[in-house]
Structures are given as C-alpha cells and as structure tokens.
C-alpha cells in the first residue's frame, strides 16, 4: 500500500447536499445580524447626536462660561447670588486718625516710642431683625493672608 496518499486523493468522496438546512441557516443568520443591525444603527445615531450635543455644551462652557451659567440657571432654577459691593477702604493713608500721630494724643504719649504692631479694619453691620454685627479684619503685614475675627453680635 505504498501509494496510499495517491489512492486517497483519487478516492471518490460523497458530497452532502442539504438545501433545506442551507436556506434555514441563511434565514437565521439574516434575522440575527441584519435585523438587529438596524436597531444598532438607530442606537448609534442617537448616541452620536447626544455626543455632539455634549460636545457643543463643552465648547460653550470653555469659550463662553456666561452662556453656560445662564443655561445652568435656566435648567436648575437657581438664582444668581448677588454679592453687595462693600465700601472701598483702600485709601486708609488719607485718614489721619488711623495713625498714632494724632493731635489729640500728642499731649498724652510719645508716638516715637511706639512701634506699629497690627492693623485692623472694623466693619459694623446693622439689621433691624437680627441686631448688629461687627467684623474685625486683621491685615497681615506681609500681605499673604487676611483674616476676619467675629468679636460680637
């Protein structure tokens, strides 16, 4: 049996023809992949649209934050808190009575013997319902940090 390979190659091999099964399998494949593909296509488009919308919102947030804030307020009905402007206290140097070189004190003490330690700013707030409030703010000489101390109600 030297030429087994040749005989195998020459051997007649039966062919399986199963048209009914071929047709049924084709239908099953079509149902599974092509009908479901339409559903996926719709979902894909919906997700794509949502992504585009998010991208636009993201761009607006970066480029025009005011618009984003307005949209946010509109969506969540939040009113923007308006911080009232406080009195400008930057021109302290012009107030002579803030200094130790005060004519009312000149007879009682020698200002040269004093060294300036700290500077405070005192603000008083008055409410007809809740009484008064004084806020003492301490100025740091180095200008690094400013702290406010609540001293009375």
């Amino acid at each position: 049996m030297k030429g087994l390979e040749i005989k195998l190659e020459e051997m007649k091999v039966p062919v399986c023809e199963d048209e009914q099964f071929a047709y049924r399998l084709r239908r099953n494949l079509l149902d599974r992949y092509y009908k479901s593909a339409n559903g996926y296509r719709f979902k894909f488009r919906a997700v794509l649209a949502a992504c585009c919308l998010l991208l636009v919102f993201g761009c607006i947030t970066i480029i025009k934050p005011d618009v984003a804030l307005k949209i946010n307020n509109l969506a969540f009905h939040e009113e923007k808190k308006i911080i009232p402007a406080e009195q400008d206290v930057s021109n302290l140097e012009n107030l002579s009575y803030t200094s130790i070189f005060n004519p009312h004190l000149s007879n009682e003490l020698d200002p040269d013997k004093f060294q300036e330690d700290k500077t405070y700013l005192v603000r008083k707030y008055v409410s007809s319902e809740q009484g008064g409030l004084m806020i003492v703010s301490e100025f740091d000489r180095n200008g690094k940090k400013q702290s406010a101390k609540r001293i009375s109600f």
Binding site: L4, K7, L8, V13, P14, C16, D18, L25, N28
Partner: protein, 180 residues
C-alpha cells in the same frame, strides 16, 4: 485574496456580499462537518455554530487574520475547533451517536473506499482526523492546511506523514484480512 477581503469586510453591512460568501463557503463547511460527524443534527449544529461565530467575529478576522490567511482557512479553523469541542463534549457526555445515512461510495478494485477510510479514521485522535479529512476529503493544499493550523507547509507535511503512517498500517491490515 484582496478582493475577497473587501467582500468579507463589506459583508457585515451588505446583504449581497454576505449572500455571496455564504453561498460560496456553506458547501465547503457543510461537507467538512459531514465527513467528520455522523449525526445529522450534530452536523447541522456545528455548521450553524461556525457561521454564527464567523459573523460575530468577522471584525477579528478583518483586523487580525485577513493579512495572514484566507477567509476559507479562517472558516475551516472555526470548524476544526467546533468539531474538536464536539468530540470533547461527546467524550464527556458519552453520547450515543446515530449513524447518519449518506450516499455510500463503493471502493474500486484497485482503490480504497470512503467508508473504509472513515472507519479507520475513528482509530486516530479527532484532531488528526480533521487533518486527513481536510486534506483528502476536502482536497485542500498544504498551504491552506498551514493557514488553518497556523503552521508552515513543511510542518503540515510532516504531521500528515506521521498520521498517514498510522492509517496505512490500519488500512493494510484491513485489506489483508479481506483478501485472506
């Protein structure tokens, strides 16, 4: 090959391309399963699994295997794995195999019959049977076998040569017994 690759890529969306591929490759895979599995319902299940898996993982073929092997080799590889899995399950479950009736082809005086070869194939491991079936029933070349098993042509020749030695002994013995 390149044209075929484009068709495979388009088959995911294009019904006509899918139809072309299905009509072309269904007989090959069906015949291979027919040679390897005796039970009709099991054969149909294996062929179904092959095509469902192929459709599901067609993107993998597109990105990983399309440059290295043909679509037919990729399909045969899925079929080989399915058949091996079938025999592993059968061994585990000790299933009763019905003999599927098919058109028997009688052996010629000088040649050997398909039935005899198929009967003798039962004596060798399932994966070796797959190789013989692909080579001599499906008439694939060593190059195609190499693509299916991801090995070189030379390696496939050596492997098949060893299987043929086993098969030769078994068939020789059978023929001698018949003659005596």
């Amino acid at each position: 090959m390149d044209q075929e690759r484009k068709r495979v890529i388009r088959a995911k969306q294009d019904l006509s391309e899918f139809d072309y591929l299905y009509r072309k490759y269904f007989p090959m895979i069906n015949n291979f399963a027919f040679h390897r599995v005796n039970n009709e319902s099991d054969r149909r299940e294996i062929v179904s699994n092959v095509f469902f898996k192929a459709m599901k993982k067609i993107s993998l073929f597109q990105y990983l295997d399309s440059r290295r092997c043909s679509f037919s080799a990729w399909l045969y590889r899925i079929a080989v794995n399915e058949i091996n899995q079938y025999y592993r399950n059968q061994k585990r479950g000790d299933k009763l195999v019905e003999i599927y009736q098919f058109n028997q082809v009688e052996g010629t005086e000088m040649g050997i019959s398909y039935d005899l070869v198929k009967q003798k194939l039962e004596e060798i491991p399932p994966d070796e049977r797959n190789l013989v079936a692909l080579k001599y029933f499906e008439k694939l070349s060593y190059k195609e076998l190499g693509e299916i098993y991801k090995k070189s042509e030379g390696a496939m020749k050596v492997k098949l040569h060893r299987i043929m030695n086993k098969l030769r002994e078994s068939i020789n013995k059978e023929i001698d017994d018949e003659r005596s």
